[in-house]
């Protein structure tokens, strides 16, 4: 059983950051205790998980445990729409990489100097140039298929795998982009375009919500590496509840409880919280650790999507056919005017299912079947992934009124937007409407902030800062005021950019692993 001895490293959370860190530590010969609140889903059960998702979805997803994952959402009060946290995260060995698209980008260099470069947010305590080698290593650790384009950030090493070409449907945008002077290119994916790292090449390209073959990266790959070393003890269904911090700022132990009720105490030389933006902050708040400046839980960020689409009467596409739209653009990433708005990334899409109009349009029976025949394949859309500014009022707190199955206060999440966020979304809407006009779409509709318009990217709450009063961790990701407690993952992001966070999580984790190697040695 875990906890029977002292470890070099105790990691809380077996997702992308925790799994990768465990692999790196064991490769260097360090012993690791890896605690994960969620269950272990065997790799061989992937097909069943996919079937589970396809038949049941919603709250019946296999990784949800109502008592453990309970939360309170106060976002409706602040932004007018609720946030379905449990539909936007995965608790399990592998974390959210068990169920993700696999789109994977680096942040832009300007994102690291958001305040000085763009006049918004704050500067990171590290630069793109400092992180670049770790980005390149992350490409190879995760297995990224990509084709470099001048609009992408500079890189020191080639992609490990050739990128996926644009689809036959994407090609419709190329002449329009040329006419408008927009650069479009295929996005990189953490999906094998050839056999890589012991996993096959993708045989359905991104179409499966849960990858049955393992061709799409999952942190299970790195957890398998860690466990096979014999140095990593993984304890699933084990919820970390308190950090035992001594008066000198040294963590003495982590107190956890298994779902079967068994108490667990883990002692290590170094501790890393990698439990994503909500639970990492919650654990620090429950433990009253790292919050001397009232920064823990603040600056919670997400990527809000602005979705616009319309219909083309003279052309039919092949949405959802095995394949996936891959085109994106960074031409509108930054505004020419400083301080006006955040980043905007465009993604081009054709994927709309007319059968979803079952309830929303009051269509069923033969009328719905006719609607599907008329509409399927005629829809064309553009989505804008938008940057959300760090905002101290957008935060995770402990809810005083509700507790989880162990009696601990549950997280209360409350997203809040600032004026630049509204301007970002407004401008994104204008850009998208113009693109739809240029392509000749009719019945153009736009959903600026709908229930499906979140990226499921939780960032902030434990942000990096040189000044201990402005953040929770320092540039090494060590919690201010402690000597052996670190945070890994997107919760340390000072700003969100408008690009998928996974590769930045991996790069920061590899950088942290190198730092911990020095500490532990």
């Amino acid at each position: 059983m875990i906890g029977g001895r002292a470890y070099d490293l105790c990691i809380i959370g077996a997702g992308l950051a925790g799994g990768l860190l465990a692999a790196q530590a064991t490769r260097k010969g360090h012993s690791v205790a890896l605690l994960e609140a969620g269950s272990r889903f065997r790799f061989g059960e992937r097909s069943t998980q996919l079937l589970h998702h396809q038949t049941l979805a919603g709250p019946r997803w296999p990784w949800l445990n109502e008592g453990r994952d309970h939360y309170v959402d106060s976002s409706t009060d602040s932004i007018g729409v609720g946030y379905a946290l449990n539909s936007n995260r995965v608790k399990g060995v592998g974390g959210s990489t068990l169920h993700w698209d696999g789109r994977i980008n680096r942040l832009m260099p300007v994102d690291f100097s958001a305040a000085t470069g763009n006049g918004l947010g704050m500067d990171w305590p590290i630069t793109y140039e400092e992180l670049e080698p770790w980005y390149s290593q992350a490409d190879w650790e995760l297995g990224v298929s990509g084709t470099w384009h001048p609009a992408m950030p500079p890189r020191s090493r080639a992609f490990p795998m050739q990128g996926f070409p644009i689809s036959v449907d994407d090609a419709v945008w190329v002449p329009i982009a040329d006419r408008l002077g927009i650069e479009v290119f295929p996005t990189p994916w953490a999906i094998n375009s050839r056999p890589f790292a012991g996993y096959s090449q993708c045989v359905a390209f991104a179409a499966c919500q849960i990858c049955p073959s393992g061709a799409r990266y999952s942190a299970q790959r790195h957890i398998a590496i860690a466990e096979s070393s014999g140095l990593c003890e993984l304890s699933p269904e084990t919820v970390a509840r308190r950090i035992d911090l001594g008066p000198s700022g040294e963590v003495k132990a982590i107190h956890a409880r298994r779902l079967d009720g068994q108490e667990v105490e883990v002692r290590a030389r170094v501790y890393v919280i990698a439990a994503h933006a909500v639970e990492s902050a919650r654990l620090l708040l429950l433990s009253k650790v790292g919050n001397h400046a009232d920064q823990v839980g603040r600056n919670l960020m997400e990527h809000v999507y602005v979705d616009t689409g319309g219909y083309l009467s003279d052309r039919r596409f092949y949405p959802g056919r095995v394949g996936y739209e891959v085109l994106e653009s960074l031409s509108y990433y930054r505004s020419r005017e400083r301080g006006q708005r955040g980043g905007i990334k465009l993604e081009f899409t054709f994927d709309q299912d007319p059968l979803r109009d079952l309830d929303s349009r009051g269509l069923w029976g033969s009328r719905l079947a006719q609607h599907d025949r008329d509409r399927f394949g005629r829809w064309i859309g553009v989505e804008a992934e938008t940057e959300m500014q760090p905002n101290p009022d957008s935060r995770v707190t402990l809810d005083a009124g509700q507790t989880d199955l162990f009696g601990d206060p549950v997280p209360n999440i409350r997203f809040a937007f600032s004026a630049p966020d509204h301007r970002t979304r407004q401008q994104a809407g204008e850009i998208l409407a113009n693109l739809l006009h240029e392509v000749g779409a009719s019945e153009v509709s736009q959903d600026p902030l709908g229930a499906t318009s979140w990226g499921a990217h939780h960032m902030g709450t434990c942000r990096m800062s040189r000044d201990p009063d402005q953040g929770v961790v320092d540039s090494d990701c060590r919690v201010h005021g402690t000597s052996n407690l670190y945070v890994a993952g997107s919760s340390v992001f000072p700003t969100s950019g408008a690009l998928q966070p996974s590769l930045t999580i991996a790069a920061l984790t590899l950088r942290l692993a190198e730092h911990l190697q020095q500490v532990l040695s």
Binding site: Q209, V322, G323, G365, L368
Partner: protein, 200 residues
């Protein structure tokens, strides 16, 4: 002949009061036995995952999405429903409630079972189910105490959306659109770089 008030009554003679007591007890007994039988029927692990038990839900999905189901469609939907029932406690009861409601509406429209209804009758039944309005606050409170009302709203606003999700994520709509592959069906990933077959 004097009859003493304390005399032992003749057991062969049944007074009116005794008759009424006895009849009342019999009625109560019949009611209790009936209720117990009904409860046992509901709680017994019946053949909930069989094709026969799932046939009404399959037929419902065909009617809901306006599609004449092929044998392949029916087999796939049955398999997926059986999986859903197997991994989710309580779901078979939800499907039974739906099946009873479908049969009740079929009887109301002059037919027998939903499974034996014509396409037009089925569509009319679907129409009635889909037009059920969400419960008001008062109705929701009332449904909290009345199990049949609770089941009624659960059927429309929980079971039907779950079944619709299952249908949309199955191969049935893709086959109808002329697709040969969809999520979870492996093949050549480069297929997306080529034009697909014409739509049916």
């Amino acid at each position: 002949m004097r009859i003493s008030a304390t005399a032992t009554p003749d057991p062969k003679v049944i007074s009116r009061r005794r008759f009424l007591y006895g009849a009342g007890a019999l009625v109560a007994l019949v009611a209790v036995v009936g209720w117990l039988k009904k409860s046992a029927r509901h709680s017994a692990p019946g053949p909930s995952g069989t094709a026969a038990a799932l046939a009404p839900a399959v037929a419902f999905l065909g009617a809901l999405f306006g599609r004449e189901l092929s044998d392949a469609d029916r087999t796939e939907l049955t398999d997926r429903l059986a999986f859903a029932v197997r991994v989710t406690p309580g779901l078979s009861a939800d499907y039974e409630v739906l099946a009873r409601q479908l049969d009740r509406l079929a009887r109301d429209s002059g037919g027998g079972q939903f499974l034996k209804a014509s396409s037009a009758q089925r569509e009319a039944i679907i129409d009635r189910i889909m037009r059920i309005e969400p419960p008001s606050l008062a109705e929701r409170a009332w449904a909290h105490f009345v199990r049949t009302r609770k089941r009624y709203y659960h059927m429309r606003f929980e079971t039907v959306p779950q079944l619709a999700w299952l249908y949309r994520h199955s191969g049935v709509p893709w086959r109808a659109r002329g697709y040969a592959r969809w999520q979870g069906i492996p093949g050549d990933w480069r297929e997306y770089t080529r034009a697909g077959a014409p739509y049916p």
